[in-house]
């Protein structure tokens, strides 16, 4: 099989995996199953990043998302011992009917906007594309101040989370 066909096959498999796991996340009533499906979804996205040549981001995706954030979510789900979600009340039924219709419309508009552009050949990136070196160079050269602001934000989020979740003393 040629490289292009192999790439297309991998993309198809990953697309099916991500869409299917996203469907499980939005439909399953048990939050633990949702969290595990989300983990599958995040790993699938990491695979897509790898397919697009962003190896450093694929690694970050697995470590930060599938590792840290998923552990946090699962920890809270199990800490709160959540059961299955309750059924919608009477006013919720209209929303349950309307939401997929509106989202389908959104997907149609977005899809039309994407597909109305001209077909583009895939660009073969130069050497060093997507490695930690090139991304880090860009990050610390051009985006140094946003990076520092982001570290401040993380500190604020950490202190805020501790303050919000602690018991009143």
């Amino acid at each position: 099989m040629s490289g292009g066909a192999l790439e297309a096959a991998a993309f198809f498999v990953l697309a099916v995996l991500t869409v299917a796991s996203a469907l499980v996340v939005i439909t399953h009533r048990n939050p633990v199953v949702c969290a595990l499906a989300l983990a599958f979804h995040l790993v699938g996205i990491a695979g897509l990043f790898l397919l697009l040549g962003s190896q450093f981001l694929a690694l970050l995706q697995v470590i930060v998302y599938a590792g840290a954030i998923m552990v946090l979510i699962l920890f809270v789900v199990m800490l709160l011992n959540l059961g299955e979600e309750t059924r919608a009340g009477s006013h919720g039924r209209i929303q349950a009917w309307l939401a997929p219709v509106l989202a389908l419309a959104l997907a149609a508009v977005l899809g039309k906007a994407v597909l109305s552009g001209p077909a583009q050949a895939a660009v073969t990136p130069g050497s060093g594309y997507g490695t930690a070196g090139t991304v880090g160079q860009e990050l610390f050269a051009r985006f140094f101040y946003p990076f520092e602001v982001l570290s401040l934000l993380l500190v604020a989020a950490m202190i805020g989370a501790v303050l919000l979740a602690k018991k009143r003393v």
Binding site: G4, E7, L48, S54, T86, A88, A107, R142
Partner: protein
Amino acid sequence: MDPRYVLLLSAVLFSLGVVGVLLRRGAITILMCIELMLNAGNLAFVTFARQAGTAEAQVYVFFVMTLAAAEAAVGLAITIALFRLRESTDIDQIRLLKW
């Protein structure tokens, strides 16, 4: 591989996240659906980065990941505080500010 297909997948995943936020009533599940939407955006960023051949859009993805981590931490802390108060994370029961 045509980048439009990847963008199409990203649009579909984003819409799925929107459906989840509108349909679900558990606060944690809604947070998970927000993660779905953020990831769909990241996928589009990575596609654009690949077409441009530069690292700039990849730095944006890095920023979005950091924001997602901060959002998850604060959101889950609020959920825990809410659960202590109400013994439930059902957002239909939190309607003090709703008329």
